[in-house]
């Protein structure tokens, strides 16, 4: 058992990185993720963590530094938010393609339209297809836990992939929650030292990221595809082992909240789910058959688990906290992925998309009530009249 403290998502993540005993950290300031780096800088200065703390000249530089560090055999950590995440875009594919399991924490932030700093999942969702393990924490405790689990998953010799440990900016990163900080001994039992099978070494030189011929391209992509698909099994194993050691049990893919006997559910990712749960409680007390499903891991997307879980309901409202202008069905990424996952169930489960909480706005109780009201209407009429709604303007 560790010590229970009240701390923000940023400080919780910093504690996870300290306990993971990382070797190299590269920072560049941008809010809100920067709270992680200020706490880590303090830990290094106070001698609580022995790591190289390097200041990047920008996010592209940050990712380049940890890229090299991971290639040299170091456990490396970096992070960013909003436009910073986008500035480093070039590096994401090579890092996963060269199978270097470093970790990046994204405390999400809206992209400039212009100059908004609020929470929104668009930044991290833009990076979802780069071959990284990715998921959202909804509380500071979970932020600490996924950082530890993701290192373990990513560094597994069967996986060797980098990870985006995401949390909602401000709503998770800057709001205090109770966090059980594990002991170093517990973490050591869970997370062995990082060993990669290809490491830069002057005595045994090799080229990582060499120019290749086009005919090797398909095979290299296929190797990475197999790694991402193969990580599903490892993700499940690691969550089970984490529960054994730390006593906190998470479903690796989706958290089901009050879904027993539910007819309509909300499908959502990240910290807004905590607000949604309070609305579910209230409606349950009023006798409504409602529930909530929170997606925990978005890459790899749990197609099978989502299909199984959603097959029980009559209507599902998928809330996207990110933008994807011009996307199929005119809502967001999660709606299209959920619809693809349940395609073979035909019209049995109705889905409606909602875009909400953009630019750092709360998804309010009132909005959750409206979503449930709309879903109830869909169940009653048996028809989806309009497949997507932008909140608060269209509902």
């Amino acid at each position: 058992m560790g010590v229970k403290k009240r701390m923000s998502g940023c400080v919780a993540t910093a504690n996870a990185i300290r306990l993971a005993d990382v070797d190299v950290i590269c920072s560049y300031p941008i809010r809100p993720y920067t709270g992680i780096m200020s706490e880590l800088a303090r830990m290094v200065a106070d001698g609580e963590l022995d790591a190289e703390f390097i200041l990047g000249e920008g996010e592209h530089g940050q990712l380049s530094v940890v890229y090299g560090a991971a290639a040299a055999g170091a456990r490396a950590f970096t992070g960013s938010s909003g436009v910073g995440v986008m500035y480093a875009m070039e590096l994401y594919s090579p890092i996963s393609g060269e199978r270097l399991p470093l970790q990046m924490c994204i405390a999400d932030r809206t992209l400039d339209p212009p100059g908004d700093f609020g929470s929104e999942q668009t930044d991290a969702m833009c990076c979802r297809d780069q071959g990284w393990i990715q998921g959202w924490a909804s509380t500071p405790q979970e932020a600490l836990d996924i950082s530890l689990m993701y290192y373990r998953i990513g560094e597994d010799p069967r996986v060797l992939l980098p990870q985006y440990a995401c949390q909602d900016g401000y709503f998770v990163s800057h709001i205090l929650g109770e966090v059980d900080v594990p002991t170093q001994a517990e973490v050591n039992a869970f997370l062995p030292p990082y060993k990669n099978h290809h490491v830069l070494d002057v005595k045994n030189p090799m080229i990582i990221g060499a120019q290749i011929e086009p005919q090797m391209g398909p095979g290299l992509q296929y190797q990475r595809y197999l790694a991402v698909e193969g990580s599903r099994k490892v993700i499940e194993e690691v969550h089970a082992e984490f529960a054994d050691i730390f006593g906190r049990k998470y479903d690796p893919w989706i958290e089901e909240y009050m879904t027993d006997g539910a007819e309509t559910v909300i499908f959502i990712q990240g910290g807004h789910a905590e607000t949604g749960k309070t609305v579910v409680n209230r409606l349950r007390n009023l006798g409504e058959k409602v529930g909530l499903i929170r997606l925990r891991t978005v890459r790899p997307f749990p197609t099978k688990q989502v299909r199984e879980a959603l097959s029980k309901f009559k209507a599902v409202g998928v809330i996207d906290n990110s933008v994807s202008f011009g996307i199929a069905c005119s809502a967001g990424i999660l709606l299209t992925e959920v619809r693809a996952a349940i395609y073979d169930m035909g019209d049995k489960v109705k889905t409606v998309g909602f875009v909400a909480g953009l630019g750092g706005e709360m998804i309010t109780h009132d909005e959750f009530y409206k979503v449930f009201k709309k879903l109830k209407e869909v169940v009653k009429t048996g028809r989806v009249e309009k497949e997507s709604y932008w909140l608060p303007f269209e509902l």
Partner: protein
Amino acid sequence: MTVPYEKIPFAGTVPSPQKENEGMITGNWRTRRPILDAEKCTSCQLCWISCPDSSINLGDETSSLTFNLKYCKGCGICNEVCPVGAISLVPELDFED
């Protein structure tokens, strides 16, 4: 022809030192050829460090440096960085070969 994925080294890593790759000959991209004036060369090795394609072979006490024309793309960086102007770029069409 697509190479079967099992035959591709893990993550595309390549044992080194491996200087030449028969599948990736780039010397025929070149429009200007680097030519060394050995009298001017001070063996400072700046061109060797700067060459993005490792196409410069260092000389020793008795011989001057040479260019690996099988791979040199003719980018001209060596000509730019040479502090004494010992490397000139000559149009390829001026050569017989």
